[in-house]
């Protein structure tokens, strides 16, 4: 079955996008990402340690940019200017790579996005030729505005980043999905496999997660579970679930031909 995820004119087989943070070491990062089947992986842009890292392995040694689609993020940015600056550096770092994840945070405790700064940054980045996948609140109006600006995907939160609280507002996500002409991916808040499956059953085009895998007791096994959950949820969405019949049972076996 060819059911491909299409983002900014490129297609992907996997609808699971994963982060590369919080793992024990690079070997575990690599093993988990292999188990997840993800083709798009997020990375952060940070100051290089100077003087102490010569010869030390880097993330890129374990996850070669030729093998994966890198999605540099703006994690830790609290202003549009910082986010734009970070992604311009990322583009230089990754040889002109244009696909990016924009996130502008508004509060260090909740890591809730600041949508006013996010919108300002999105406008600049789109004009500058970036393909912007944007982390956002689950506000349908904001999501539509981000699409109108020219973002290539909107990524509303399921719940707070790293919280594992799951999908708190499936109703808003459904409104966003129904109105969108660009891919909607759930980013942040997924805690376990059923959360990912629910996101896909709602009609999301994909799910992006990091902590749900990295902070599991066995990250590699959880990565495998997430791969299956995303696939299962997608197939269930495509298959079209049966209508819910509240308080009305319907036997699956014939009612005729019973003995006696």
């Amino acid at each position: 079955m060819s059911d491909l995820l299409k983002i900014a004119n490129k297609t992907y087989h996997s609808r699971l996008l994963v982060g590369t943070g919080k793992y024990q070491d690079f070997a575990q990062t690599r093993a988990a990402i292999d188990a997840s089947g993800a083709e798009i992986i997020t990375v952060a842009i940070r100051r290089t340690n100077i003087g102490q890292t010569a010869g030390e392995p880097s993330l890129l040694d374990f996850l070669p940019p030729e093998e994966f689609t890198y999605l540099p993020n703006t994690a830790g940015c609290y202003s549009a200017d910082d986010a734009v600056r970070t992604l311009r550096l990322a583009r230089e770092l990754l040889d002109g790579h244009q696909l990016v994840k924009l996130e502008v945070l508004g509060d260090p405790n909740t890591l809730y996005p600041n949508m006013i700064e996010t919108i300002a940054a999105a406008k600049v980045l789109v004009k500058d030729g970036f393909d912007v996948m944007v982390y956002c609140s689950d506000d349908p109006i904001i999501a539509k505005q981000l699409e109108d600006i020219g973002c290539c995907a909107v990524m509303p939160l399921a719940s707070l980043i790293g919280s594992g609280m799951g999908i708190l507002n499936p109703w808003n996500l459904q409104i966003i999905i129904a109105n969108a002409n660009i891919p909607v991916l759930v980013d942040a808040g997924v805690g376990t496999a059923s959360d990912a499956a629910i996101a896909m059953e709602l009609g999301c085009q994909g799910v992006l997660m990091n902590t749900a895998i990295a902070a599991a007791r066995d990250p590699v096994l959880m990565a495998s579970a997430m791969k299956k959950a995303v696939e299962a949820g997608r197939e269930a969405y495509l298959a079209g679930r049966m209508p819910k019949k509240l308080y009305t049972a319907s036997p699956s076996s014939p009612t005729a031909g019973l003995i006696a």
């Binding site: 982060g19 290089t48 100077i50 540099p72 990322a90």
Partner: protein, 71 residues
């Protein structure tokens, strides 16, 4: 005689003894040759192809960044 050039690199002051100093020489001196990185000088990106041509002067502020694990 040689001049001392004061730079701020990733927020920390550093001084170098050199008459003529460019970004390529700085990268070599910091043992970062061959590493995948991006450099900003006074808020402007220095493309890799311009490392040799880009002269550094006293007081320049540089950011040298790479990719790390993140979500």
């Amino acid at each position: 005689m040689q001049h001392t050039i004061q730079l701020t690199i990733n927020g920390k002051p550093r001084s170098f003894d050199a008459d003529s100093f460019n970004v390529a020489k700085l990268v070599a001196m910091l043992d970062l040759e061959g590493k995948r990185l991006a450099i900003e000088c006074n808020g402007e990106i220095v493309p890799r192809s311009q490392f040799v041509q880009t002269q550094l002067a006293d007081g320049d502020k540089l950011e040298i960044v790479g990719a790390v694990g993140g979500g």
